[in-house]
Subunit: 130 residues, 4 copies
C-alpha cells in the first residue's frame, strides 16, 4: 500500500489528466473511482464522448488503483469494449477493481458509466508491477 496523500500529489503532475478534467474521487483497497464533467472538448464529430476520452479515464483509474496497491505499475496491454454511444452525458465515472495479481502482473476490470448509471465502457487492463 502506498501513502494516499503522496499518490494524490504525484498524480497532480499528470498534465493530460488535468487538461481532460479528470478527478480522483476515491481510493480504497478494493477500488479506485474517478470522474469527469463532460465538456464540449470531450466530444467527437457526432457529439458523443470521444472513445479516446473514455479510454483515458478508464486507464487512469486503473493506474490510480494499481499504483496504490503495488507501487509503480504501468499499463502493458488493455482491451476495451464500447457498449453504447456516449450521447448527452453530463458526467462520467470510472470504477477500477483488481481481479487478480501476481508478483509482477495484475489484471483489473474498469467500468465507465454516465450519470444515469448506464455502462458506456468495460475494460480489462493488464499492468506490469515494477
Amino acid at each position: 500500500m502506498e501513502d494516499k496523500k503522496k499518490l494524490l500529489e504525484y498524480f497532480k503532475k499528470d498534465r493530460y489528466i488535468i487538461k481532460n478534467g479528470i478527478e480522483i474521487i476515491e481510493i480504497t483497497d478494493n477500488k479506485a473511482v474517478c470522474k469527469a464533467k463532460v465538456t464540449p472538448e470531450h466530444l467527437n464529430a457526432e457529439d458523443v464522448i470521444q472513445g479516446g476520452m473514455l479510454y483515458t479515464i478508464a486507464d487512469f483509474t486503473f493506474a490510480v488503483l494499481a499504483n496504490y496497491l503495488h507501487g509503480k505499475t504501468v499499463t502493458q496491454t488493455a482491451a476495451i469494449s464500447y457498449l453504447r454511444p456516449a450521447k448527452d452525458c453530463l458526467e462520467i465515472r470510472a470504477v477500477a477493481e483488481e481481479l487478480s495479481a501476481t508478483r509482477h502482473n495484475c489484471v483489473h476490470k474498469v467500468t465507465v458509466t454516465d450519470e444515469k448509471g448506464q455502462t458506456l465502457v468495460i475494460a480489462q487492463i493488464n499492468g506490469f508491477i515494477f
Copy 2:
C-alpha cells in the same frame, strides 16, 4: 469509398482530436496516417506521453481509415499493447491498415511510432460498419 474532402471537413468537428493537436496527414485505400507534435499537455506524472493520448491517436487513425473505406463505422472493441515508455518524444505518428472486413465488421492494425521510428504502441481495433 467516401469523399475525402467531406471526410476531412467532418473530422474538423471532432473537438477532442483538435484539442489534442492530432492532424490527419494521409488517407489512401491502404492506410490512414495521423500525427501530433508532443506538448507538455500530453505528458503524465512521469513525463512520458499518457497512455490515453497514445490510444486516442491510434483509435482516431482507425476511425479515419474505416470511415473512408466503409462509411459510418464506430469502434466496438480495441486491444492495445504498449511496447516502451514514450519518453522524450517530439512527434508521434499513427498508421492504420485494414487487416480484414466483412459486411458489418472490420479489423484494423494501428501502429504508433515516435520521430526516431521506435514503435510505442500496437493496437488491433474492431469496428462496426453501419
Copy 3:
C-alpha cells in the same frame, strides 16, 4: 431465458468440448460454471495446460451463459490474460458472469481457476446477440 434442458442437449453436439472433457456444472441467471479434469492430452511441451485449452473452457463457459441469457450469441472478440503457468493442476473450473448487455452485444468476464483456487486466466469476451 432459454430452456435449460434444451440448451444442455444442444451443447452435447459440441464435439470439440466433449473431446476436451469439458462439462457444464451450473447455469443460473447470474453465472455459468464449467469444469474439466486435467489429462495429459491437455498439456503442452512444458507439462502445463495448453493456453488453447484454457481459452477453450473460458470461451465455452461464456457461450453457455450468453446463449442461456440471450438466445443465439457468438463470440465476436475476446481478450485473455494468463496470470501464471497452469502447472500440476488436477481440475480447472471456469466461471462466466455478464458485465453488461445491450440489444445486440454483451460483455462477459470469465475466470479460470485450478482446484486450489488459484486464478489461471481472466478473459473479457464480447458476444454478438442474434
Copy 4:
C-alpha cells in the same frame, strides 16, 4: 535464433497440439505457418469450427515463431477477433508475424484462413520473453 530441429522436437511433446492435428509447416525469420485438416472433432454444435480450436492454432503458431526468434517465450495476453463463421472448411492455416519486440516483450499478429483464403480469425498476441 533457436535451432529449428530442436524446436520441432520440443513441440512434438505438446500433446494438446498433436491431439488437435496441428502441424508446423514453416518457420523463417519472418513468419511461422501451421495448418490443420478439419475433422468432426473440431466442430461445435452449429457444425462450425469451435472458437477454441481457432484460438489454439493461432496461439500455437505465435508460440512457434516467438520461441524460434527469442528462446523461451510465453503468451501473456491475447486479443482475438472472429470475422466469419468457420463453416464447411476443409483445412485451416495460421500465419504468425512479429510486429514488434523489446527485450522482454513481443507483439505478433496471427491470421487464420481457410483453404479458400477467407480470413476466419485475426489475433494480436503479446508474449513475455524469458
